[in-house]
Subunit: 291 residues, 2 copies
């Protein structure tokens, strides 16, 4: 199997690195070509693709880009060059409908498409322990499974194309809600003079417990919000959730509330912090008026 | 040590049972006296107190009642009868200020007060595995520790009187937020045709993971909401959170939103269901307009 990789960003670069370690990576492409050159210079035996034609010999191409339009643009660029039976794996976070559209365009030429958004952050990308939420036909999934396993440790096949992205969107909604829960709870506790370490300990084992409380609560205690997962990136994902809910004429309360809060954080210059900096706003509510 | 127990409700009865098993319980009182009579008939060697005077020989009195006014009424009733050095332990969920007021009134007579609200539900009460969030002086806590240990398995001393209730309030805010997170996320996933078992599996290990997702997500999948923890009781606790935030002139978004949702659930006849029935509202948003 020859794998091509498009998009050597904060997530893409370590994912491509793990593919290289597994002996699967043949070529890389990046919009800013210098980044691909540097990556290739650090990884033996790689070709740097100028663009589409250069990936024609790959049987699997992994995408890890930013936006829905980027995915469709890359798919359109790749489609005339890939051979029948090859498969494009999209690890970007985009709308389920974008995944289905990409699959339609590639399917016309006998090329497969798998949506495989990931969670676990740059840490998971580096360690190869990402959770991968997969939307795919069984046959295409079987083809790309070694690729997914080189990048992640938990591969869940959610259903047909689009199901991976729908699951990722549900994940991002839950993250927004748990972030709201933990930040509001701890800001309340802090205003009441409680020791946040003890609060985290007391709440962690029970019905209020969450990954976020145990792993991001300490950020809030320290009022320091290192990455993690950027506010601006989560906002981008929640915009996808908003559009996917709008397909049902639904406005989701947590999504709307969190997007509003994130726009305030961005306005205050905290858009590059971890999403746990939502605590800043909740804490400021009490500071503005309280003791 | 002779322990008296006031309030043999859904939580109080199993807690009193565990005190009896530990050989600590001497007398019980309940507003509806017949319930105390039944309890005494099932537990050897107990006196049924008609009221205050009958608990005068107890060195520790545990309260497990419903509302702030009930706690202060019981404290006022007990104060003239308890001996100096005895301690009242309040396991009810009330405002931190109510705890401090109770401590002031009892303190004037040399009687101690400990706020010790619990979490873990009727299941934790029965098994003696409650989490107990304690606000107390060190000396009073030392006196009542065997009592708390007979009822709970995780006793966290949060600070002075009131700190237990403030922690419980923070806990209830976090529960509201996580309930919102899980129900909104799973309703979105269901609308998109996903298998909720797989969604729970895919989300559970990552940043979206929570106790609530793993333990109440299956309720949502099945559209059945057995107790657990009643909507009306959580609403009562969130009213306490609302008042405690109002002391800072703050309205907490999750608290306000969840109280609104709970009032809708109660209006639709679902107030006696587990709080996970919040899923009904989120799901109905999609059903009303969607596919």
């Amino acid at each position: 199997m020859r794998v091509g990789f498009i998009g050597l960003g904060a997530m893409g670069a370590p994912m491509a690195h793990n593919l290289h370690k597994a002996g699967l990576l043949a070529a890389v492409y990046n919009r800013t070509m210098s980044r691909a050159m540097v990556f290739a210079s650090e990884h033996e035996g790689l070709r740097v693709a100028a663009m589409h034609d250069d990936l024609a010999s790959c049987t699997v191409v992994v995408l890890c880009v930013s936006a829905d339009a980027d995915v469709l643009k890359m798919v359109d660029g790749l489609a005339p060059h890939l051979t029948e039976g090859s498969v494009v794996v999209d690890c970007s976070t985009v709308a389920a409908e974008t995944a289905r559209e990409a699959a339609r365009r590639l399917g016309e030429r006998g090329i497969g498409f798998v949506d495989a958004p990931v969670s676990g952050g740059t840490e998971g990308a580096t360690k190869g322990t990402l959770s991968v939420m997969v939307g795919a036909d069984e046959a295409h999934l079987a083809t790309v499974m070694p690729v997914l396993q080189a990048m992640g440790s938990r591969i869940v096949h959610m259903g047909p194309v689009g199901a991976g992205q729908a699951t990722k969107a549900a994940n991002q909604i839950a993250v927004a809600g748990v972030d709201q829960a933990v930040s509001e709870s701890l800001a309340f506790a802090k205003a009441h003079g409680l020791d946040l370490d003890k609060v985290i300990e007391a709440l962690a084992g029970g019905a209020a417990g969450s990954w976020f409380l145990e792993n991001r609560g300490p950020n809030m205690r320290d009022m320091k919000f290192p990455l993690g997962f950027k506010v601006t990136l989560h906002a981008k994902d929640l915009e996808i959730c908003r559009r996917m809910a709008a397909d049902f004429d639904v406005k989701l309360p947590l999504v709307e509330m969190t997007l509003l809060h994130y726009s305030r954080l961005v306005g205050q210059g905290f858009g590059e912090e971890d999403v746990s900096s939502l605590f800043r706003l909740k804490n400021a509510m009490f500071k503005a008026t309280g003791d």
